[in-house]
Symmetry: C3
Subunit: 181 residues, 3 copies
């Protein structure tokens, strides 16, 4: 069950060859960070990473953030499409033994209301022990849409996997915890 | 093709540490049984099992019910969430070589109309030879919602995998068999 | 990125024991071909195959069409249900290392508006290098419904995997290419 004693640690990982090489300013990571600062009502600390696309870079960053930094939640952006360098879903699956297919299904479904190319996204969520990993798209507008869709279920998910206790600000995101049986 | 000669055998499996230890009265198994008695119009026999959560217990129960008891359909309840002890989907996949992803997608979609935490469910359907296995959530209300969603396709699915012939009561569930090509 | 220099090559594969044995006239392949002739505005050449159901036959045909014939897109029909001989999804996965789950989810979702048995379809899309493979159902009406749903995203998908450049006729299918970041 959830650990109510400490602030959550949230990893925000931008997977982008260009952003990590400094050729392009990362807008997605800051957009996620801004979202979290508004949406969450309980204390948390953010760990930012900007890394190249690719299987090993993403997998190893996720494992490090989960196992060494002790993240409760990691949100990634970038690398979920069908391009050869888009390997974030593969890396997430390699780092996280257990997938939660409902996240990817719902995020694609809400993204489809904005663009028909939403079906090209292979984004997913999975957890590595007490750390939940959620893949987000690369564009700030799509990021917000996806976070709005799944965030209501995140606090209870963190409870169930034994991560830190988190509450959302109901004026921005109305999250839900079912009563225990 | 479907075997019209005999009554269907339907397994109803409750995966719950507390219910199997007698610490908690199983309400989900009886809710499924009550649903089936109203929804099905053809004769059937129910085989009930209340077992602990866990990979081996669920997997071995499914294999026994499919191979030795001869179940045409097995409906499970419990163990589909992200908690460490929730291993029903993994066990179902291990017992059943072939997954039918549309069941899980639709059950999550209809459950989302009731609660945002529906995306945490990893429930799926798959078949082991002539036996279809469907994972349901733990709560009676969610069980009914999910069965209402997928039951219209179950009789035809049983035809296709070579299980017993089943008909629903159209006043409760309108099932559908496409005409053969 | 997309190769704009040449006409696309599109494989249309009918998986059907009866059609390949000449016991049944294939209506699905011609329906797909007719759809493509209306929906696509750029030049393309079709490669038709009528093969028996089964894992090896479908897998080997997909690999041959992708690697030797140089198809940019392969559309299959048949073999996606739960019958023992329905092995098109397994064969597609074996031929194509990378699945795009949004295609299957959306095709089942739109098919559900027509028939509750749409959840029995295991159809998916995946790509083998520069070749996208999309599984369609067997019935001409369901084929059109599914193609209408996913075709808007196909040209951009082909761009991303490095296949030929394709444009749809916007009076039939309005496709979408996001602007580069």
């Amino acid at each position: 069950m959830a650990n109510e004693q400490r602030a959550a640690i949230i990893g925000v990982v931008t997977a982008s060859d260009r952003a990590s090489a400094g050729l392009y300013e990362d807008e997605s990571g800051p957009a996620i960070e801004a979202y979290l600062r508004v949406a969450l009502a309980t204390p948390f600390r953010i760990e930012r990473r900007i890394i190249p696309d690719g299987f090993e870079s993403v997998r190893d960053t996720l494992i490090d953030l989960a196992d060494n930094v002790g993240c409760d939640l990691i949100v990634t952006t970038g690398g979920t499409g069908p391009s050869p360098r888009d390997l974030t879903p593969e890396a997430t699956r390699a780092a996280c033994p257990r997938e939660l297919p409902g996240f990817g299904e719902l995020m694609r479904q809400v993204s489809l209301t904005q663009t028909p190319t939403a079906i090209l996204s292979r984004q997913l969520a999975a957890h590595r022990g007490k750390c939940l990993v959620i893949n987000l798209p690369g564009k700030p507008r799509a990021i917000e849409l996806c976070l709005d869709a799944v965030m209501p279920a995140v606090p209870y998910c963190l409870d169930l996997i034994g991560a830190a206790y988190v509450e959302t600000d109901p004026s921005r995101v109305e999250s839900f915890r079912p009563k225990a049986k």
